[in-house]
């Protein structure tokens, strides 16, 4: 085993820069994010449109749709919060968990993903009150619990502590 004590070049670069308070940096970052809110909303709508609303019974087709839905949702995670739709991130994460669980088990069941897509569609409705959004998210809990692949204890704790 080789051990190297490397220079922390990030620390050096920060030390070389003019002083800026962290709280000032945070305010500026929030301001910069506010500039792309509309772009994020538009991106959410584009991704949302990519989900199929009708899926046949062909298992190969369902398998492909599950994979594509996973990819589409994965891209969505993180954008919802900036778009002012943080619940969309929650549902997208849940969809990824479920799709991943289906793929690991080799299941070809579109139904648990269909309910996620339906919830996402409802989330985009401007007239849906916050309490309604939370109810919808809660309703997905049992679906996620049933279909998401339960992480092994050691990997779950590793990821929890690393993120």
């Amino acid at each position: 085993m080789k051990i190297t004590y490397a220079k922390n070049t990030l620390g050096e670069a920060l030390a070389a820069a003019p002083a800026q308070m962290a709280k000032t940096a945070l305010v500026r970052a929030e301001d910069m994010l506010a500039k792309i809110t509309d772009d994020c909303i538009a991106r959410i709508d584009v991704l949302l449109a990519e989900f199929p609303r009708s899926v046949g019974r062909d298992t190969a087709e369902i398998t492909r749709h599950i994979y594509e839905a996973y990819e589409t949702s994965r891209k969505m995670i993180g954008i919802g919060t900036i778009a002012g739709l943080p619940e969309m991130d929650t549902v997208a994460t849940s969809l990824c968990d479920v799709a991943d669980g289906l793929m690991i088990r080799g299941l070809t069941d579109w139904e648990p993903l269909r309910v996620h897509v339906d919830v996402m569609d409802l989330m985009r409705r401007a007239d849906l009150p916050p309490a309604g959004k939370q109810q919808l998210i809660a309703s997905l809990g049992s679906v996620r619990e049933r279909f998401a692949y339960p992480p092994a204890a050691d990997t779950a704790s590793q990821m929890a502590s690393a993120s």
């Binding site: 085993m1 080789k2 051990i3 190297t4 004590y5 490397a6 220079k7 922390n8 070049t9 990030l10 620390g11 050096e12 670069a13 920060l14 070389a16 820069a17 800026q20 962290a22 709280k23 940096a25 945070l26 305010v27 500026r28 970052a29 929030e30 301001d31 910069m32 994010l33 500039k35 792309i36 772009d39 994020c40 991106r43 996973y70 949702s73 994965r74 891209k75 995670i77 993180g78 954008i79 919802g80 919060t81 900036i82 943080p86 991130d89 994460t93 990824c96 968990d97 991943d100 690991i104 692949y149 992480p151 990997t155 704790s157 590793q158 990821m159 929890a160 502590s161 690393a162 993120s163």
Partner: protein, 202 residues
């Protein structure tokens, strides 16, 4: 306590070269907007793995932020490649993995690629700032073995960032004793003092 919440904490990325690698344009945009807010002027954006490798080969970066899952299975290999194939300073550049979702069969791989930190999206500016500050103070050595190249994954006495629970038995025992209002052992006091020193000395 979060480093970002320390009143005297400073952060300016004006002199920091950052590589942002994300195959999804909007994912890139979000991180770049935050970095610009933090003062960054030299940001290189990559949406293809070959470009990531090319950039790492021709320019020095003080910070690499990557979403490996966005590049498919090969995305996870680029950090290992960086740690094994490049020379310093990029070989030891801090790598922050910002991942949307990690498939179960990739979790082990992600743990072993040699990243300095893994952050789940959605990522707020406060989280990113906190992790950058934390990495800027990091003193972990780099370990090279047949199976792993990257920062030492044994955290020794280093304090974890805000919101990251300690995995060691002594972390959990100390937390439980303190929460129960029980008497603190010298080891508990050392843990708390170490945390305090790490968070105020910016």
């Amino acid at each position: 306590m979060s480093l970002a919440k320390v009143p005297k904490a400073l952060l300016n990325l004006q002199k920091t070269s950052v590589l942002v690698a994300d195959a999804d344009n909007m994912g890139q945009n979000i991180i770049v907007q935050i970095l610009i807010g933090f003062g960054a002027r030299n940001i290189v954006r990559c949406d293809e793995l070959e470009e990531v490798k090319r950039q790492l080969g021709v320019a020095n970066f003080e910070l690499v932020i990557i979403d490996p899952s966005s590049f498919g299975p090969e995305g996870y290999d680029v950090i290992s490649w960086m740690r094994r194939s490049l020379g310093p300073p990029n070989r030891h550049a801090p790598v922050l993995v910002a991942t949307g979702h990690t498939a179960q069969n990739r979790i082990g791989q992600l743990r072993d690629v040699g990243a300095n930190f893994i952050v789940s999206k959605p990522m707020s500016p406060a989280i990113l700032l906190d992790r950058i500050l934390w990495m800027s103070r990091e003193k972990r050595p780099y370990i090279e073995t047949d199976n792993y190249v990257g920062p030492d994954r044994r955290w020794h006495d280093a304090t974890l960032p805000d919101g990251v629970p300690g995995r060691r038995q002594k972390d959990r025992e100390a937390a439980a004793r303190i929460a129960a209002g029980g008497a603190m052992s010298q080891a508990d006091i050392d843990l708390v003092m170490n945390a305090a020193q790490t968070t105020v000395a910016i």
